[in-house]
Amino acid sequence: MNGQLYELMREQILAFNEEELLKTIDDAINLGISPADIISKGLSPGLEIVGDKFVKGEFFLPELMLSGNIMKRVLDKIRPHMSSSTGEPSKKVLIGTVQGDIHSIGKNIVTAVLEGDGYEVHDLGEDVPPAAFLEKAGELDPDIIAMSALISISVSKMAETIAVLKENSSRAPIVVGGAALTEENAKTIGADGFGFDAWQGLRIIRKLTGR
C-alpha cells in the first residue's frame, strides 16, 4: 500500500499535478506514514527523476521550476508534521545577485529548485553589495551562500564579495553560478562550488551540506 502511494507521488510529480499530489500527501499522513518516508521514498525520488530528465534534455527550465514550486508547497504542508519524526532543521541558503547586476531569472529558478528540495532560502534580491551579504550572513549563519551573476563586470564584484566574506570568517561554503562564469573563473575568484545550471547547483549544494 505504502509502495503504491510512493509510486503515485512520483507519477504526480512527473505530471506536475500539484492538487492530486497534495491529496496523496494527505492520504499518506492519514495512514500514519512518517514525513521522513514521504520525502525519502516518494518525493525525493520524483525530484531526482525530474533532474535526470533535465540533464538528459527531456525536461527544461519550465519543468524544473514547476517541480520546484510544487515541491515547496508540498513540503510546506508536510513541515508541521515533521518535528517529532525528523527533528532536523532545514539547511539555510543565503542567495543573491551580486552588486552591479540586476538580473533575477537565474537566481529565482535556483531558489525555486532549492526550496523544492527542502532548503530554507533567504533571497537578498539583486544588485546586492558585499556588505549586505556579510551582514545577513552574520545574522543568519547560513549553511551555504549562493551568488549569481549574468554580466561579466559583476564577476569582479563577486570576487570582492567572496573575499569580504572569507576575510570576516564566514563559515558557509560559497557557490556561484550564472552566464558570466565558467568553472575556471569560479575557482579563480575563490568560490567553493560552481553550478552551470540550477540542477547542477542543487547537486553541489547538497554535497556541500552533507546531503
Partner: protein, 363 residues
C-alpha cells in the same frame, strides 16, 4: 586611416557568399568596452547622437575590426527594456550603470495579467533611446559608409525582461497569457522595424536574436511556439533575409535553421560561439554550405582568460578549418566583457591579418 569601404565590401562579400580579400573580423561591441576605451559613462555617450556617433567611430577604430556597430547596442535587448520602461511610465524599473550595460529589472512590468493587457507598446520613432540611436547610426553612416544594423529580438528577450522567471512557469501553466505577451512584443518589434526603415534606411537584412532556442532553457517545440513562429512571420512580412544570432550555451542551431527553411525563410548567416568545438562547425558547414558562419571565438574562453598567443592559435585553427572557401566572419561572441584584455582583442585582428588572406594557405 581605416579603410571603411574595404571593410564593408569584405563583410558583405562574406555574408552573401563570395570570397573576400581576407576573412572579415567583426566585434560585437558592448557598453563595457566602449566605456573603457572612450572614458565616458554610458549616459554621457548617449547624451547626444553626435557624441554617440563620435565614440562609436573612435572605439571601432581602436578595435580595428571590419564592423562599425554602435557602441550602445542597437539590438532589441537592454535598451528595448528602457523603451518599454519609458513607454509605460516606469523609469523606476530601469537601472543605469556608469560603466556597464544598464538593464531593466526583470519581471516588474508584467507581473499580472492586467499588466500584460495594459502594456503600452513603445513608439520607436519617439521613445528614447531609439531616436538617439537611429540618428547616431545615420551620422556614423555619413562619416564611414557603415554603421547601420536592424537587430530585432522578436519575443524571448523582451519576455524575460517583462515577465521575468514567471515566464518559464507560464510556458506550462499559462501559455495563453504568454502568447498574448508575445503578440504585443511582436507588434513592438514590428514598430521598431518600421521606425528604423523610416528614420535610418530600409534594411537589407535583419540580425535576428533567437534567445529562446537554447536547450538548457526551453524545448525546441516551446521555443518554436513562443519565438520561432514570430521569426517566420517577421521574415515573411518584411521579406528580409536573416542573420541568426544565438549566444546561448546550447543552441538549437541546426533544428532552427532546418525548420525556418521549411517555412521558406532565407538565412544568410548564423552568429554564435557555441558549441566551442570547431569540428562541430566543420560538420555544420558541410550541412549548410550556403550559410556564413559568424563566430569562432567565445568571449569568455581564450579572449578573456587566455594569452595573445592562445587567441592567435584559436583564430588560426578556425580559419584553417572553416575559412577555406569563404562564408566565414571571425566574430568573438557575444558582447565583449569588461575583463577582456584589450591586447587580446587586438590579437584577433593581427591573427586574421596573418592567416586570413585569401586564398587561405595555412600549413
Amino acid at each position: 586611416m581605416h579603410d571603411y569601404a574595404a571593410s564593408l565590401a569584405r563583410f558583405a562579400t562574406a555574408i552573401f557568399g563570395g570570397i573576400p580579400d581576407r576573412v572579415p573580423v567583426v566585434f560585437l561591441t558592448s557598453e563595457d568596452v566602449a566605456a573603457r576605451i572612450s572614458g565616458l559613462t554610458i549616459r554621457e555617450m548617449m547624451s547626444s547622437p553626435e557624441i554617440l556617433a563620435e565614440k562609436t567611430i573612435l572605439v571601432n577604430n581602436f578595435l580595428g575590426g571590419d564592423g562599425m556597430a554602435l557602441v550602445v547596442n542597437p539590438y532589441c535587448g537592454p535598451f528595448e527594456g528602457l523603451a518599454w520602461a519609458r513607454a509605460n511610465g516606469r523609469n523606476d524599473v530601469f537601472v543605469w550603470k556608469d560603466y556597464t550595460t544598464p538593464f531593466i529589472r526583470e519581471g516588474l512590468l508584467c507581473k499580472t495579467e492586467k499588466d500584460v493587457d495594459n502594456l503600452i507598446i513603445p513608439d520607436h520613432s519617439k521613445v528614447e533611446p531609439w531616436p538617439t540611436l537611429f540618428k547616431a547610426m545615420n551620422i556614423v553612416q555619413e562619416k564611414t559608409g557603415m554603421g547601420r544594423s536592424l537587430a530585432p529580438s522578436l519575443t524571448w528577450s523582451s519576455v524575460q525582461m517583462l515577465r521575468g522567471a514567471q515566464a518559464y512557469i507560464d510556458v506550462k501553466r499559462n501559455p495563453d497569457l504568454l502568447m498574448k505577451l508575445c503578440e504585443k512584443i511582436y507588434a513592438s518589434q514590428w514598430d521598431y522595424y518600421q521606425a528604423y526603415s523610416k528614420m535610418v534606411e530600409p534594411p537589407p537584412t535583419a540580425f535576428e536574436c533567437c534567445y529562446a532556442f537554447n536547450q538548457h532553457m526551453l524545448s525546441f517545440e516551446d521555443a518554436w511556439k513562443f519565438e520561432g513562429r514570430f521569426i517566420v512571420r517577421f521574415a515573411k512580412e518584411s521579406g528580409l533575409p536573416l542573420i541568426l544570432h544565438n549566444c546561448g550555451f546550447k543552441p538549437y542551431h541546426i533544428e532552427l535553421i532546418e525548420k525556418l527553411r521549411e517555412e521558406g525563410v532565407v538565412i544568410l548567416a548564423v552568429n554564435g560561439s557555441h558549441p566551442l568545438d570547431i569540428d562541430w562547425w566543420v560538420e555544420f558547414k558541410k550541412k549548410f554550405p550556403d550559410i556564413t558562419i559568424m563566430g569562432g571565438l567565445h568571449v569568455s574562453a581564450e579572449m578573456e582568460n587566455g594569452t595573445e598567443q592562445d587567441v592567435e592559435n584559436r583564430v588560426k585553427e578556425v580559419i584553417k578549418k572553416l575559412g577555406g572557401n569563404g562564408r566565414l566572419v571571425i566574430t568573438p561572441t557575444c558582447c565583449m566583457p569588461w575583463r577582456i584584455p584589450l591586447n587580446n582583442i587586438r590579437a584577433v585582428v593581427r591573427a586574421v591579418e596573418k592567416y586570413g588572406r585569401y586564398p587561405i594557405n595555412i600549413d
